[in-house]
């Protein structure tokens, strides 16, 4: 017994020494390190960007993909240099926050409608039909309204199982935002949000969860992050956009959707875009920073490096988007983003 205690004491002493050495090491590095947290959707792009940025500028960026909600929370608590979110903060949420928060768009994402109908590889859907499917009003695939927009396709008489995300998600926000714009019933009954009260259907965790249920269940239809659908080569429906064209989601058609005037602060949804060839369920993903960078005793150097990083992300960094299937910013939005970044200050004076 005594021997055990002795060896335990020795062990804890050694562990303590190791810990002290380790903490000494990390505090001795002199270069600025930036901390970010937030959305999971752009994480593959951000990690590629931050890796490249580290190689070019020797600035380390730590990004934790803990979800948009967590990112906003950490920014509010001022424990990170920047947050990231797939949904812009509402006026109400911004009012409640101390200090002005800027939204900087980084790239575009979209939501694909995937389905499981054996033997049918091309399906067209209009917005009202899509809304009524997810409201549980259209119950069978051979419904006259679906048949009408798919002439020549032999639709089976099986039940429709709608599948949604069970976890809170920016993907859900973009999808419900679209449905709320095109269906007044949807707006009244469900509304828009990262988690909503689904009137019907099943929930799957993450893109993989939804994709799994859709692929396994005959007659299922679900919405999936566009990138996930591309990478897994899933059957996706083409959607009728505002100008009456049926559009299949792709990097191009998603980028086209941003060809529409957006407000100066870029806090805008571009779902149901009026752009002629734009895919209707597209949206921005943002990085969020405080307008005044002097908070939580941050150094001016840190503020400057944050600004430089953001500048790089909306310009040179954009080249990493397309290879990873993200839609890059259009020139106009890129310029708007640069203008927003230039309004950043440190203790009131411009950076």
């Amino acid at each position: 017994m005594i021997n055990t205690i002795k060896s335990l004491t020795r062990l804890s002493a050694i562990l303590g020494l190791i810990l002290i050495t380790l903490s000494g090491c990390s505090s001795s590095s002199k270069t600025v390190e930036l901390q970010g947290a937030g959305a999971t959707f752009p994480y593959p792009l951000y990690s590629k960007m931050f890796d490249a940025y580290y190689k070019e500028n020797d600035i380390k960026i730590n990004y934790q993909a803990i979800g948009s909600g967590g990112g906003i929370r950490q920014l509010k608590n001022k424990t990170v240099d920047f947050g990231a979110s797939d949904a812009f903060m509402s006026d109400k949420a911004l009012e409640k926050t101390k200090g002005t928060i800027l939204h900087i768009p980084i790239c575009l994402g979209a939501v694909s409608i995937s389905y499981n109908l054996p033997g049918i590889d091309k399906l067209k859907l209009s917005s009202d039909v899509l809304a009524d499917i997810f409201l549980g009003k259209i119950k069978k695939w051979d419904n006259a309204r679906i048949q009408e927009i798919n002439p020549g396709v032999k639709l089976p008489s099986i039940s429709i199982v709608s599948v949604h995300r069970s976890d809170g998600s920016g993907t859900t926000f973009i999808f419900t935002d679209y449905l709320a714009k095109i269906s007044s019933t949807w707006l009244d009954v469900v509304g828009r949000g990262k988690s909503v009260n689904w009137p019907d259907g099943l929930g799957g965790k993450g893109n993989a969860g939804v994709a799994g249920i859709v692929q396994q269940t005959p007659g299922a239809i679900g919405y999936i992050g566009h990138i996930y659908a591309i990478q897994n080569k899933m059957a996706v429906a083409s959607l009728k956009n505002k100008s009456g064209r049926f559009i299949t989601p792709s990097i191009k058609t998603v980028s086209y959707a941003a060809n529409t005037p957006i407000p100066e602060d870029t806090r805008a949804s571009i779902t149901n875009s009026a752009a002629k060839n734009g895919y209707p369920i597209s949206g921005f993903t943002w990085i969020l920073v405080y307008k005044d960078q002097n908070f939580n005793s941050r150094s001016k150097e840190q503020a400057l490096q944050t600004k430089r990083l953001l500048d790089w992300m909306v310009t040179q960094g954009q080249r990493f988007a397309e290879p990873l299937h993200y839609a890059p910013l259009t020139t106009e939005v890129g310029n708007q983003a640069k203008a927003i970044i230039n309004t950043m200050t440190y203790s009131g004076s411009p950076l």
Binding site: G69, I72, D167, G168, V196, N197, L202, T217
Partner: protein, 301 residues
């Protein structure tokens, strides 16, 4: 010489008292941890308690968009899946524990059975979830197609079956220990009075060991209530009160796991934490009731 002995005695005394203090400390840590956990959940739930009031437990609408938070469907989902899982697991774990505890006490196959049970208890729940998704769900879907209901596949029944598989090792291994502790002379007395082995099991062993067996079931029930990952994958995550055992539903823990990461609004976050508080109370309730029953049965035995 004398000095040396006194020194040794003193050092032994010091070690003894240090050891005792260490034990007391670890006991205190558990109490602090428990009350700390409760206090954290409670203080972080205060916002939600003032926002939703008592309707948090009675309302069946969970709508973050309209800021209406009612936990009733999740509370029911948790109870229904856990009770159903316990019912499914009961015959298997009871039979298994009698078999290893009484009939097959030693030998190669006992070792195989015992280590399989232990291994089963150690499998991470995400693996059970995956297995359920790829094996159990398609079977349930076929049954649903046969019965002519919407072939969801996922739902209460699928998650209860997987939960039952997950908790069998817990109840079986505790019951096994208790059954093997039944004194040999009572069993022999029963046999010598002309009881068949079946009669000995039902009339002597089970009554003698019932409080321990019940404790095993209770522990497995607690595990079923708090299981998160596998259930989240299989329950279908629908926020409605289930209408049949084939319906998709949701449990307290799966809602927390699903929605916590993206909850940014203070009321929403606090409501999720209140779900955890409710789960805390549910677990505590069943554990207390169980203790009461065990105590009562022990006196009778």
């Amino acid at each position: 010489m004398l000095n040396l002995t006194q020194k040794t005695i003193r050092s032994v005394e010091l070690k003894e008292s240090l050891f005792k203090k260490l034990l007391v400390l670890s006991g205190l840590v558990v109490v602090f941890l428990m009350s700390g956990l409760f206090l954290t959940l409670f203080t972080k739930s205060l916002l939600s308690i003032s926002h939703s009031g008592f309707s948090f437990l009675t309302s069946s609408t969970w709508d973050p968009v309209k800021e209406t938070y009612g936990a009733l469907p999740f509370l029911l989902g948790t109870l229904i899946t856990s009770i159903l899982a316990l019912l499914i697991s009961l015959p298997f774990s009871a039979a298994l524990s009698i078999f290893i505890g009484e009939y097959l006490k030693e030998g190669f196959w006992t070792t195989v059975l015992n280590s399989s049970i232990d291994l089963l208890a150690g499998i991470p729940s995400v693996i059970f979830g995956f297995w359920g998704l790829f094996v159990v769900v398609p079977i349930i879907r076929k049954i649903e197609l046969f019965l002519g209901i919407i072939p969801h596949g996922v739902g209460i029944l699928s998650s209860s079956i997987i939960l039952a598989l997950m908790i069998i090792p817990y109840s079986a291994s505790i019951s096994r220990e208790v059954i093997s502790l039944v004194p040999q002379d009572i069993k022999e007395a029963a046999l010598s009075l002309g009881a068949t082995p079946f009669e000995m099991v039902t009339k002597v062993i089970l009554p003698y060991a019932k409080s321990g067996i019940f404790a095993g079931f209770l522990m497995s029930f607690g595990r079923a209530i708090s299981e998160t990952m596998a259930v989240t994958m299989l329950i279908g995550n629908s926020n409605k009160i289930p209408s049949s055992i084939f319906s998709p539903a949701n449990t307290l823990s799966s809602v927390i796991a699903n929605e916590f990461a993206e909850a940014a609004e203070a009321e929403y976050l606090s409501s999720l934490i209140e779900l955890a508080l409710v789960l805390f109370f549910v677990t505590a309730f069943f554990s207390l009731v169980g203790r009461f029953i065990i105590k009562k049965w022990m006196v009778n035995a």
